[in-house]
């Protein structure tokens, strides 16, 4: 491939226009000049712009994120690395992280989502772990918005296309629709891998003189300034950004995965990091920062896919399926041999230096010379103004007396089961391979996915949860509920949480009301994490999710991982056999704020989200877990969107076999719609044999969880006396066909 010589590339001037087009404020530019004690050249300007972008620097979120608890007995690696790591015993550890790929997926849904999956997979195997399960959390605009079906099919086939080809099962996820995401969809991808504790690798450039080796695919011009794009709001111009979306090649990544894991078995490797956002620049700079060293890159040696790339382009390209590694000096040939066997490039492109500088050469000429710290730890940090929006009081106002209760509550239940937010997501997950690696014990569609850990009796449960509507109405409570629901989902399958990862999706941090939402959500998440004993081990922040000045609902998504000491003891949400007793753990309150019912039936997103008492939450979860430990439960299902009515229906119809009816009569007296569709938290519906009821009562009383036996499994109808009486076959047919029917 033809290369430029140093004389051939004219560096464009650095002037007010180029400074502004790189997104710098005057103060930021002044700071660059101060650090360098001179004006930067054009290439350096580009390097600063990506490293100081919101996406890479976390400059608006850093001071808030510090509030989150990151320590716990199982934590081996907290935030700051490519992914978080928790101990799962047997000498093994689970490595996991979630990342957003929102902007690219809106511009080019297939490739945007595919490369989102590719990126998160690299984050996992770069630490030495083999990825064994993925999840995703998706938000789209209203399902009848003209763009939604196109975006949804593109994103789903992109996720499947990449994950399936990598041989990593997609075992679960969530998908919600709301107008709030019409012009800003959310695509958050989660992956978990397993690694031997003694074979964990990190992204550190240590050992002065050690070679930096570029491995994987060649570099092209794709994705240049992707990180910067992710740090800007959308406008009508966004369509023109299509060329900044990278193109994925899962086959190359599969080879890269196998080659890296093979290399990691030997002892050549010092550090390794994926070239993700801001490509070569960020991987080299971040590794040097963690290693307390400098790096020297020879850009003339970077493998090229296109002619005549400039140093600027080489440093900023976000071409996919590339890694940067630091090998032990003298082991270069050994590294090359491994990658050659897999038909991949492995080229020495630089070395680790003592001077703590990020230096890049091109054709013998130094084109970048910046202190590593200036690009990493000393990047700007902002305590941006935060202020509660005036309109917040108004959206929280909800007078239940003015909400007319529907006469036909059975019909209302049917409408809710037909709502794309509640309906079965089978249309989505049947496009993902969820069997490969033969570990999948509970496939998508349950409260949490369960995979077994081969060679042990253990299992891991995985879930992703978030409710933008709750956070919009009250971001503090919304933050609590996201964590609480994730932990509850794990409890329903019988797993105790080890840690969580998050994607924090918000509007522009330059808006005080968005910063207020952000800080409130973080405080809520913190309080819930502490109360439930769940540390945050990794995560990602995605700001600027807004179009033409309108931000999305604040949407934190929580990915939580829990451990089952005996995977064979896991429990699933659906009823098992006629005659089993149906029990409600927890208490229902008369509340409808922020509910799916209010949205679907009354067209309102108002009120305050459900009340929560974290002590009660803990008591309910502990009761469920202890009952599962003792083998008492036949099923357990969290009550969430759509309330008790929807949850009961799901218990009847979500199983793989023929639906089972039930007859229940909850005792709490309140208006019928609140009883059926209120989304009171800390509730789990369980079913069990009659003989075990007393033992369950003892457990619940000891934990301090309210418990009431509400009915019995059996028959061909769901009867919630005296409100609803419907054939389960009909409910199943509505619930399972809704999505497909709407996407046709």
């Amino acid at each position: 491939m033809a290369r430029l010589s140093a004389k051939q590339f004219p560096q464009p001037p650095v002037n007010a226009d180029t400074i502004a087009s790189h997104g710098f404020s005057k103060e930021e530019y002044q700071r660059i000049v101060q650090i360098l004690e001179r004006e930067p050249n054009f290439t350096e300007l580009g390097v600063f712009s990506v490293m100081w972008s919101e996406h890479c620097s976390y400059k608006s979120s850093k001071i808030h994120l510090k509030l989150l608890p990151t320590d716990g007995p199982a934590v081996l690696q907290g935030p700051g690395e490519n992914a978080g790591i928790v101990d799962i015993g047997n000498g093994l550890a689970a490595v996991f992280k979630m990342e957003s790929h929102n902007h690219p997926s809106f511009i080019e849904p297939y490739q945007g989502a595919a490369t989102g999956v590719g990126g998160i997979l690299r984050d996992i195997f770069t630490m030495g772990a083999r990825p064994i399960a993925s999840l995703n959390s998706l938000r789209f605009g209203a399902i009848d918005h003209p763009r939604t079906p196109y975006l949804l099919s593109g994103v789903v086939s992109g996720i499947g296309g990449y994950g399936n080809c990598m041989g990593v099962p997609t075992v679960g996820g969530e998908l919600l629709f709301d107008e709030s995401y019409n012009a800003n969809i959310l695509v958050n991808a989660f992956t978990l891998g397993i690694v031997e504790k003694k074979r964990i690798f990190t992204g550190q450039a240590k050992g002065v003189g050690n070679p930096l080796i570029y491995v994987g695919a060649k570099t092209g011009r794709d994705g240049i300034h992707g990180a910067t794009m992710a740090s800007e709001a959308f406008s009508e111009e966004s369509e023109k950004r299509r060329p900044t979306v990278q193109v994925g090649d899962p086959f190359t990544e599969k080879l890269l995965l196998e080659a890296c894991l093979e290399l990691m078995k030997g002892n050549c490797l010092v550090g390794i990091q994926d070239m993700g956002a801001a490509g070569l620049t960020s991987s080299a700079a971040e590794m040097a920062a963690r290693g307390g060293t400098g790096v020297e890159l020879d850009l003339s040696r970077v493998p090229l896919r296109e002619r005549g790339m400039t140093p600027y382009e080489l440093l900023l390209s976000e071409s996919q399926e590339r890694m940067l590694l630091v090998a032990k000096k003298g082991k270069e040939e050994q590294v090359k041999r491994v990658f050659e066997r897999w038909d991949l490039d492995a080229v020495v492109v630089g070395k680790v230096t003592r001077d703590r500088l990020f230096r890049a050469f091109f054709d013998g000429v130094e084109v970048v010379r910046i202190p590593v710290a200036a690009l990493t730890s000393e990047a700007p940090v902002y305590n941006r103004p935060a202020e509660r929006a005036q309109s917040q009081d108004e959206v929280q106002r909800l007078d239940l007396e003015k909400i007319e209760e529907p006469a036909d509550l059975g019909g209302t239940l049917k409408r809710l089961l037909d709502s794309p937010n509640v309906a079965s997501k089978e249309w989505v997950f049947r496009q993902y391979d969820h069997y490969v690696r033969s570990n999948t014990v509970v496939a998508p569609g349950a409260d949490a996915a369960v995979i077994r850990i081969k060679g042990t009796e253990k299992g891991l449960a995985l879930t992703v949860d978030g409710n933008g509507r709750y956070c919009y109405l009250d971001p503090y409570v919304g933050g609590i509920l996201a964590v609480a629901e994730a932990a509850r989902n794990l409890a329903c399958v019988g797993a105790r949480p080890l840690g969580l990862t998050d994607c924090l999706n918000f509007g522009s941090p330059e808006r005080p009301e968005v910063m207020w939402q952000f800080s409130q959500v973080i405080q809520g998440m913190r309080d819930a994490c502490i109360a439930l004993g769940v540390p945050v081990v990794s995560g990602n922040v995605s700001f600027y999710n807004e179009t033409d000045g309108v931000p999305i609902y604040p949407t934190p998504t929580v990915g939580m991982v829990g451990l089952l000491p005996k995977v064979a003891r896991h429990v699933t949400p659906w009823f098992k056999s006629p005659g089993d007793i149906v029990v409600l753990l927890g208490r229902s309150r008369e509340e409808l704020g922020g509910s799916e019912y209010l949205k679907i039936i009354h067209g309102l997103t108002r009120g305050t989200p459900p009340w929560i008492d974290l002590r009660l939450e803990r008591a309910v979860q502990q009761s469920c877990l202890k009952a599962i430990d003792k083998g008492l439960l036949c099923s357990a299902h969290d009550v969430s969107d759509g309330g008790l009515g929807v949850a009961l229906a799901e218990c009847c119809i979500s199983g793989p076999d023929k639906p089972l009816g039930a007859r229940v009569e909850p005792r709490e007296m309140m208006r019928g719609d609140a009883r059926l569709f209120g989304e009171s938290q800390s509730r789990i519906i369980v079913s069990l044999k009659g003989k075990d009821l007393n033992r369950l009562r003892e457990i619940a009383e000891k934990e301090g969880a309210p418990i009431q036996a509400i009915g019995e499994v059996g028959g061909s109808r769901l009867v919630v006396h005296p409100l609803v009486r419907l054939p389960v076959d009909e409910l199943k047919s509505i619930w399972s066909s809704s999505l497909e029917r709407r996407l046709k």
Binding site: N164, G167, F251, K254, Q431, Y435, V436, S438
Partner: protein, 231 residues
């Protein structure tokens, strides 16, 4: 019993096959060097960028597999392995894009149509097996002459059916001709199928019907002592 599982660049299910064979089945040890059965696992060999299996058939190992089959060795192709065997001409027909135009991952029921082969001899004719499928191009096609020959020689070993064993339209997940899920060659020593027996080898993973295929091979080899060299 000695199995050989071939790993192409881009194979995904080789570990599943290996673990299933190793952990879930009883079998006698055999001498090293000779293989009783070669398995081509699922996945996306060479990225399947051109056409599924079209690149893999040219990989050097396939020459060996063809010779192994010609000598009477047992060859089992699962999913991408089935596609490769069709591309390599070891099995008749072709696998084209699912009629839904989407990748499909779900459990299906198969009906065992013939039991006089080393891959199905442990089963009963008409027996139902519940196995997962996961593929984008599993729609079986063959021209009329080939199809006639398949029927005449009883080469269709498994068909997609519903839970009661009927070939209803909804039971056919990918639009396969005549509900065909798997076929063998005329010599009955090469078998390809789209569903994944290796992912149905344990109760905790949803069932162990997949073992029927592998235990047939073990039974056949024990009876006939069939084995050949793979060079």
């Amino acid at each position: 019993m000695r199995w050989g599982v071939i790993v192409f660049p881009g194979s995904c299910d080789e570990q599943d096959v290996y673990d299933c064979l190793k952990n879930n089945l009883k079998q006698k040890e055999r001498l090293a060097g000779r293989f009783d059965c070669i398995v081509l696992p699922g996945g996306f060999s060479y990225g399947d960028y051109l056409r599924c299996g079209a690149m893999a058939r040219f990989s050097p190992i396939m020459q060996g597999v063809v010779e192994f089959a010609q000598k009477g060795g047992l060859v089992l192709g699962i999913c991408n392995g089935f596609q490769i065997l069709c591309e390599a001409g070891l099995l008749p027909g072709a696998l084209t894009r699912n009629t839904t135009l989407q990748f499909i991952c779900r459990q299906v029921f198969l009906r065992l149509e013939e039991t006089d082969t080393p891959f199905t001899c442990a089963g009963k004719k008409g027996q139902l097996l519940k196995l997962p499928i996961k593929h984008g191009e599993g729609c079986y096609y063959a021209d009329a002459t080939t199809l006639e020959r398949l029927h005449k020689n009883r080469q269709v070993l498994v068909r997609y059916v519903d839970a009661r064993g009927r070939t209803t339209p909804v039971a056919n997940p990918n639009g396969s001709l005549d509900h065909i899920a798997g076929v063998c060659n005329e010599g009955r020593n090469v078998f390809g199928l789209m569903p994944h027996p290796e992912d149905a080898g344990e109760k905790i993973l949803g069932g162990e019907d997949g073992l029927k295929i592998f235990s047939s091979v073990i039974e056949a080899c024990d009876k006939q002592g069939k084995s050949a060299w793979l060079d």
